[in-house]
Subunit: 380 residues, 2 copies
């Protein structure tokens, strides 16, 4: 089995439970336990997001301090981001839908950073292409339905006057040795990649800096982004801010069942947001990793393993009616539902979701400017 | 004798003729010879700047190609800069007066970069202090009398949206290894210092980038800044621009005759732009390194060495009437003028110069905005 290698720019190797356990130890994060989920559940009036229920978001750093602040009526804010080097697939978008759930649950401000600068410097891609993806990705993200009053988009290049100004505060406190040790950057990497962590760390204190109100920042991210926020936790107190808190996810299940990230490099490797109903169906039928048995007969007899079935999992992420999900889970597990049927159910759910996004996209695409971070418009 | 150590941030050791000869070889620059000075002299209608005459600007890179372009009626532009971490002394300002002479001689555009970001990241100094020095330094520089239509100031922080955008083009082509080798940066330096060369290289192609017209850029700088432009010469052709040309100076003579740079850390180590007539006189009398003899008697008998006399040199940089300079040179050398008299002559000249600057400063200080680089206002 290939050993796991992970930086924010590359993941290779097997990402199974034991790999995650090792990462938790190595990075020094805490697991999200039942008690913490219950505590969130109370605030969310019992509606726990499937990503918490299914341990997709499975680890955290000082999430309890954020909840303490919330319960005491102190403000905090959320920060998440996206590296815009390609079209978004469903595996890219779902974490934003989790962030949206957090935003709605806690009624807080949210910064969304588009790291166009990073992608330009780290990938063999033109600024023109990056800009196109950046603007498309923003529309995709916003089509989930974020509140324009509390959601603030940062395009690094567009906001560079502000971002670079604060990034130098971070950079002054981070040595090359640290970046080498934490990110696995080498001497032959370019100096833009070396500097970039400063830019990704800025939003972790930016809302405090801009408003003059010291607030905690909660950052939902996939575990490969952890190096940024380990460094952030070291630097931010030196600048007079709180260490950022984190809620950390595993990688989402990939269409073809690879245990690494869903890749965005090949059309058939993921379900893209502009895939038609027919294409979604075909991709599931042809590629989707199944937890079911090889033949209908065996499936009827032994049932499926829904917990590793791409189609069931996607369905479970998108179906809001928990009773329906439980029913499908049980029926699939017992063998009452066949693999092909599970794929049909998922295809319908995914396609409906994509169609809703598509409708929203039309509404949101001329309103992007309302979402671009403007320090003067922030109302805590 | 202490061996010379030089980076853009630190110079220590003896800077004598043999040290400069070694640097010329090490950096691979060409000496400015008589023929080149003659060629410039023709364009300048015989008025050669004292810095060329006295070999303060002594080396170059492809200055001939700039002159070729000029003679063929093709545009080029000038770029120089200042790290605003303190008050300016006369040794800081005189190179700008040379640049002004170049601008007038060739009637070309000039970019002046204030590297406030660099100074913040490299020195133990606050952003507030840096900002104060930046604005003061700009007024000092502009008080020399630059043409607002062709002189464009860049404050890195203020212009970071534009500067960072282009800096990432540079950064993508520069590895940490290169910065290590060329600048002597180490693993324990901060990542802002590592990235910064990208920012200092931008103005070497910025006017071409902003106007869409590919032009040569001629950069006057002191030899400690050479690493930036060696890297620039490697990177710019990859971005579709000309390698920048250079006209390179030695360090100016220091008040106390140290062969290193005039320091700005101690009041008595240099003549500052706000020094009163009385202070200038006192500093020269008390500290100025003299090429004269120890006693009046010996001086009368053997004469002085004006070429290493701080007071004579400053006088020669500031007196526009070449005949007067020659007269003073001969009289000092022959012993007709005593050291104290030479100091009086220089004190008067310097003080008059500072008083003119002071008057100009009042006129210029409310017009700074006219000089800040605005891409829309550039008229080639």
């Amino acid at each position: 089995m290939e050993e796991l290698k992970m930086t924010p720019w590359d993941v290779s190797g097997e990402l199974n439970d034991s790999a995650y356990t090792k990462l938790v130890e190595k990075f020094g994060v805490d697991l999200i336990n039942e008690k913490l989920i219950e505590r969130i559940g109370k605030i969310a009036k019992g509606k726990i997001h499937p990503f918490l229920k299914r341990s997709i978001f499975f680890a955290h750093r000082e999430l309890n301090l954020v909840l303490d602040d919330y319960e005491k009526g102190r403000p905090f804010y959320l920060y998440t981001g996206r590296g815009p080097s390609g079209k978004m697939h469903i595996g890219h978008l779902l974490p934003f839908s989790f962030t949206l759930w957090l935003q709605k649950t806690f009624d807080v401000h949210l910064l969304i950073q588009l790291t166009d600068d990073e992608k330009f410097m780290v990938k063999d891609i033109s600024k023109t292409a990056i800009e196109k993806y950046t603007n498309e990705n923003i529309i995709d993200i916003l089509s989930l339905g974020f509140d324009p009053k509390k959601t603030h988009i940062i395009k690094d290049y567009e906001s560079a006057k502000m971002m670079y100004y604060y990034a130098t505060d971070v950079a002054k406190h981070v040595t090359f040795s640290t970046v080498k040790a934490v990110f696995g950057v080498t001497d032959s990497d370019n100096i833009g990649k070396v500097f970039f962590p400063s830019m990704q760390i800025v939003p972790a204190f930016l809302l405090s800096a801009l408003t003059g109100q010291k607030m905690r920042c909660l950052i939902p991210y996939a575990i490969d982004q952890d190096p940024y926020f380990r460094v952030a936790r070291d630097v931010l107190p030196k600048l007079g801010y709180y260490k950022p808190s984190a809620i950390i996810s595993k990688f989402l299940p990939a269409l073809q069942g690879s245990s690494a990230k869903m890749s965005s490099s090949k059309e058939e490797s993921a379900i893209f947001l502009d895939d038609s109903r027919e294409v979604v169906r075909k991709k599931l039928m042809k590629y989707a990793f199944s937890g079911g048995k090889d033949t209908a007969e065996e499936q009827r007899k032994y049932g499926a393993n829904p917990d590793m079935d791409f189609s069931f999992l996607e369905y479970s992420f998108l179906e809001e009616d928990q009773k329906k999900v439980d029913q499908v889970y049980n029926d699939y597990k017992s063998g009452k539902i066949l693999s092909g049927e599970m794929k049909e159910i998922a295809a319908n759910k995914i396609s409906s979701f994509l169609e809703t996004l598509s409708d929203n996209r039309e509404k949101v695409k001329d309103r992007i400017d309302d979402y671009i971070l403007d320090p003067k418009k922030i109302k805590l």
